[in-house]
């Protein structure tokens, strides 16, 4: 890695934000940030989930507007009101969630809303195909322009998304976690393309959680924490501990105190769990784990590491999953969610909106959905008993609601999460599986959720929880398992764990870049 001794002159500032503040109802996503985007270089952006990276990029790409502060481009103040607006000014963005149409072809997708036409009406298919082929060649991918995007693997779809931005001749290209679904070889190709673009003077913003990748590809680094920039400098002299220090900071978040208690017997055992994914590999690949009553087991890993799928196989959502599950020594039969809930498992899904709640139903009906049996005699539901149970949990979980009869969609994220947790607890579980329990909820609600987790563990519940937040996993877990590529790549006890160890274990099988470089060197 060579760096220009005087990067300031070699890489002019193409866009800058001064005093950027973005306020959403209830939270401040960005606080007075100053950010410079340098052209002909890779500007790396790093921070934990919810630190404000995506918000900042959305501002640059015209998806969101700053509440206060200015964006200047080439000395002029600009205010992009839409993505089209930003695009006209040469800004392209590849979102983390792919924005493609699976029912259309690769060429259709790349030229969506920018179709090459004859006379503005007739789409020139052959010109589009030709251009698509050229783009694919540049990206070194043999993808036919007429393939449906839905038939491509996720990694290939990501390539299409990148090609889409390239086709618009972006001067500034924002890549939000572009490698999360790419294989090593594909990552290498992407990096080569990035080098080319850099040479052409394109300014690239690169967001990723894979710290080693950042160090390799980046020229400048900006670290965000809770909406403020905690570090911004050229990549020279930056190492992983520096990044982690800036990401997490000295001040700890408000985690509940641990309640000292002994662990009980084994509450959950999973053996050799496997789940095939759509592309022929395994989303969960031979995972075994064991959990004792009263223990909190944290599962750390990057997006797509198979953590969510692991919890889903344990609860029995996937009928084609292979592997054995025991709850308190009791072996589970073939995968079936109702059976496993009855046997003492409960899941709090990652996606509250789509998996956790029935938005149209009331708070009461959502809370008791998993446990209607507990107030039913024969076929008759005792609604009075239901109401008192709900009132009891609303009190215990400190849920702020006007009335349990209101639709659950009226609640804030934190309160919705508490409803989901209540629903799981009402089944009287022995093991609680929590998938990103703090996702999308504000700091106060997080602290309460953590307090509840501690409390439950002290009461003898076994908890498995998945998170991508380093600090969270380290302060809450009694034991930590790291997953990568569907496999367990590390296991640490509370005492021995370090951030660096977690980060490197989570990158196993993805891009152990230093090793790869070494390999290439020895090959030459």
């Amino acid at each position: 890695m060579t760096l220009d001794p005087d990067p300031g002159s070699a890489h002019p500032i193409g866009l800058s934000i001064r005093g950027g503040t973005k306020v959403y109802p209830g939270t401040i996503a960005l606080k007075e940030v100053d950010f410079d985007l340098r052209m002909g270089a890779v500007n790396v952006l790093v921070g934990e989930n919810g630190a404000g990276k995506s918000t900042m990029m959305k501002v640059i790409a015209g998806v969101e507007q700053l509440t206060s502060g200015t964006v200047t481009m080439n000395g002029e103040e600009v205010n992009f009101t839409s993505t089209d607006d930003a695009e006209r000014n040469g800004i392209g963005i590849v979102f983390q969630e792919l924005n493609l149409f699976p029912n259309l072809t690769v060429a259709d997708n790349i030229f969506m809303a920018h179709e090459k036409t004859r006379g503005g009406i007739d789409i020139d298919m052959s010109a589009q195909r030709e251009a698509t082929r050229a783009l694919m060649q540049r990206l070194e991918h043999d993808i036919d322009p007429d393939t449906l995007v839905g038939d491509l693997k996720v990694g290939q779809q990501q390539i299409v998304e990148i090609a889409k931005s390239l086709s618009r001749d972006a001067r500034i290209l924002i890549l939000d976690e572009p490698t999360s679904a790419l294989s090593n070889a594909e990552v290498e190709i992407l990096f080569r393309v990035i080098e080319e673009l850099k040479a052409e003077g394109v300014g690239i913003v690169y967001i990723s959680h894979r710290l080693e990748e950042l160090i390799r590809v980046g020229d400048y680094i900006t670290v965000l924490r809770d909406g403020t920039i905690t570090g911004a400098q050229s990549m020279e002299g930056v190492d992983i501990p520096w990044i982690v220090r800036n990401m997490i900071g000295d001040s700890s978040k408000d985690f509940a105190k641990e309640i000292e208690h002994p662990f009980g017997d084994e509450a959950l055992r999973v053996e050799n769990m496997r789940l095939a994914d759509t592309s022929g590999g395994f989303a969960v690949d031979g995972v075994s784990l064991s959990l004792r009553a009263g223990e909190i087991l944290g599962i750390y890993g990057l997006m797509g590491a198979g953590r969510t799928e692991l919890l889903e196989t344990i609860i029995g959502r996937h009928s084609h999953a292979v592997g054995d599950v025991w709850v308190q020594g009791d072996k589970m039969g073939r995968p079936s969610v109702p059976d496993r809930i009855a046997k003492g498992l409960a899941l709090i899904p990652e996606d509250r909106k789509h998996d956790g709640l029935v938005q149209i139903l009331s708070i009461r009906e959502n809370m008791t959905l998993s446990s209607v049996g507990s107030f039913t005699r024969g076929v008759h539901m005792d609604l009075g008993k239901e109401r008192s149970r709900v009132a009891d949990f609303v009190r215990r979980m400190v849920i702020k609601i006007a009335s349990p009869e209101h639709p659950v969609s009226a609640l804030s994220g934190g309160n919705q999460q508490k409803v989901v947790i209540s629903k799981a607890l009402m089944t009287g579980p022995k093991v609680l599986l929590m998938d990103e329990p703090s996702r999308g909820i504000d700091i106060g609600a997080k602290a309460e959720v953590f307090r509840v987790m501690r409390q439950l563990a002290a009461e003898g519940l076994g908890i498995v929880f998945v998170t991508s937040d380093l600090e969270e996993v380290m302060s809450l877990s009694d034991r930590i398992i790291v997953m990568s590529d569907g496999r367990i790549t590390g296991e640490f006890s509370r005492e021995e764990v370090t951030e660096t160890a977690l980060v490197s274990a989570s990158a196993v099988g993805h891009a152990p870049l230093s090793e790869q470089d070494a390999e290439r060197e020895t090959a030459q």
Binding site: I315, R317, V337, P338, I341, A342, L347, P349, H354, D355, G356, L357, V358, Q359, I360, L361, E365, L369, S370, V372, G373, T376, V379, H380, M381, L383, K400, I401, A402, S403, E405, H406, P407, S409, A410, L411, S412, K423, T427
Partner: protein, 354 residues
Amino acid sequence: MTDMTASAAGASSPNATLLLILKARTFIALILVFVFFSIFAPNFLSAANMVIMSKHVALNAFLAIGMTFVIVSGGIDLSVGSIVGLCGMVAGYLLLNGIDIGLGWSIQFNTLEICLMVALVGIAIGALNGFLITRLNVAPFIATLGTLYIARGAAMLSSDGKTFPNLSGNAEYGSQSYRMIGSGDFLGVPISIWMLIAVGVLAAYIARRTPLGRFIYAVGGNERAAGLSGVKVTQVKYFVYMFSGFCAALVGIIISSQLVAAHPATGDTFELNAIAAAVLGGTSMSGGRGRIGGTIVGAFVIGVLSDGLVMMGVSAFWQTVIKGLVIIAAVVIDQAQQKVQAKVALQAQAALGK
């Protein structure tokens, strides 16, 4: 049918009052229609007319009750009209011929046995719908469109398209009472109305007070979340289509008994009236929302409207147009209600002060 929640905050706000009116809109519409026709249609309020009208309404109301469960669960059942036709034919066939077991003599059945067998036919077609939708993953619209044609074709085949006439039954076999289902009354109220009351109460009870009913709403609101919460989604779907088939079978029995004949084309487009009644009663086509009571009131609005217009001498063509307008108006008002409802809930939540 409206249920006033004990919301401490905002109960007196104008929005809450508006919401109450919107929620009761189908009922208000029914009263308006009633008042209108009692003034403008001669003999509208006579007892004889009431009896005739209620019999008309009952037929659609049965189908609409079954349809409500299906729609609330997030599906649709287009096959009910054909099931009515087929079930009528099965009833007619059994009354006339019994079952020929090929030994030179046939088994004959009494009224109760015939009704049970016909109900089973309806339930079986519902189960077929459920099977196609849950096991073979056919979209409900397509699956039930298929069974619509199959059942109608089977009805035609059963008699070569001819009518089974003179279904007066036979005292020897105990089937002479079959006619009473359509024409008899108890305490001055037609038997079919008593049946409607029984089915309506049963359905409302299932919807409000049994886990099954709760699950139907949950599946329609968010199938994935319901599945992850331990709801047996497949069983719930089987139930709603089987119940819908059962309701259609009852209508087949009642019609064939009323007419003392079974015609294979009976029930054509009945499914559309049933959907209209359910929607008019506040059932959401996207699932998760709807009330049995609302549906029954909706069926009455449609029935009273069409009978009243006939009595006023309005042309059949205008009747059709008016029916369409009423349905569209109902859905537009429903959208307004959803907005106000969300607003009231958010206001109450905001009033809590974060």
